[in-house]
Amino acid sequence: MRTIEELEKLYTTTLEGRLTGLEDMRKKIVKTINIILGVVIGTIVLMGILGLLGFGIIVVIFLGIVLGIALTHGKMKRYRAAFKSQVVAEVIHLIDDSWTYDSERHIPLNDYHTSKLFTHGVDRHSGDDYVKGRIDKTDFEFSELHTEYKKVTTDSKGRTQTSWHTIFKGLFFHADFNKHLKGETLVLPDTAQRLFGKFGQSLQKMSGRGELVKMEDVEFEKQYVVYGSEQIEPRYILTPVMMEKMVQLRKQYGHELHFSFVGTRVYCAVSITKNMFEPRIFKSGANFEDIKEIHHYIALIEVLVHEMNLNTRIWTKE
């Protein structure tokens, strides 16, 4: 994988020039928004002069918003598509040109369920920016994913209200695991122990997610909780080195990490609340900051593969 410095060089030599068309698109959208904003403010000022202030202001602002959406929606969509194909796709290919990228697709919900990371039923899901590739001996896939469940509440007057709650939002990643596995192992953020200490551990025993596996690394135990179908396989997977890396990764990136080891693969869900790989309309899409950010998230995937030693194939699995 290319480092950020190499990427910067490639960006200035090849990519930057090609992004001027994209910049024109963005400027047109900003211009439209500015014009609408000008008209709205102008109208309000005029109404002020004519002494018509009051409810009318709300109507004007509302009309302004409707007009704004109507005039920019299509353009925004095209700009977003262009940004994805010209910036995100290019950056991903700069990092490794054998990787495939699809801006519209996401990790299938089936994989999400197979991971067993989240048990809550999913009522709605979305996602994009799907990448598939191989780092050395390890094939992997990841995408942005957002899963939600629906809650319908009925108040005393019989009115129903639907609200949506996030189960997971962030990067969902899975890769070939380097050891043969028989059972299932889950490594989850340890919220219970962080909040309640020892008592939390007793709660975890009753979670119903499998046997609670207590590891000997104290720092690791504070941050994660491990469940397994038995006691030995989780320790076979979670070597002392691996546990140390998991602790480091969480510190370094600051995101909650959920891991599971099921079948032939390792699954990792990285909770990130912001939308990744999206253009910002009031900022040039052709800037290195955005590219750095894309690189940051993709580097996370690479770090995961390397830190978990997924490329070490000294065991029976080829």
Binding site: E216, Q231, Y236
Partner: protein, 184 residues
């Protein structure tokens, strides 16, 4: 009346709960040892294979090979205590480590497919053994906590439960787990 029932019932319940948890943790230790035993046996099964393969290329290492075979026979003889088993296992680890180092002098052997496969399987078993040892240690720690902390220690004393020892891996053995280095 209710107070009387509570005064007798609650302590009885507590004792039952403590008794069960002690028995459970003792069984967990046995179970963990059993898990480790399975992995140790897998390694015993690999030894004849290893000996046969190495013999083909490195007849000079006869002593090493005979040593490991003898240890294996001893370990498989059956009527040995758990502690002896562990001690033997440490010796086996050490002598397999010795063979792996000796192998460095035989490039043909190192390159043979049979040996490479064997080495992978050994790595696998080594990792499994180390995992099962850690599982055993965790079970023993849990058990010891029960046996030594108040008030369970009083009950444990009556039941004749004593503190068990966790595994410490000898320095020499820690090094030989690094069979992976041979791949470099």
């Amino acid at each position: 009346m209710l107070i009387l029932i509570a005064a007798i019932g609650i302590p009885v319940l507590i004792v039952i709960f403590m008794y069960n948890s002690l028995v459970k943790s003792k069984n967990d230790v046995e179970n963990a040892f059993g898990g480790m035993d399975v992995q140790l046996k897998m390694r015993y099964d690999l030894i004849p294979n290893l000996v046969a393969t190495v013999k083909q290329y490195a007849a000079h290492e006869k002593d090493l090979l005979e040593n490991v075979t003898a240890l294996r026979t001893k370990a498989m003889s059956g009527n040995i205590s758990n502690d002896e088993k562990v001690a033997l296992d440490n010796q086996i680890s050490k002598s397999i480590g010795g063979i792996m180092v000796a192998v460095e002098n035989y490039p043909d052997l190192k390159a043979s497919e049979n040996f490479v496969n064997l080495q992978r399987t050994l790595n696998e078993v080594e990792s499994q053994i180390s995992a099962s040892r850690r599982a055993y240690n965790a079970a023993v720690t849990d058990y010891n906590n029960g046996v030594e902390t108040f008030p369970k220690n009083m009950l444990a004393g009556m039941m004749g439960y004593k503190r068990k020892e966790v595994f410490f891996i000898a320095e020499a053995e820690r090094q030989n787990v690094n069979v992976a280095n041979l791949f470099k």
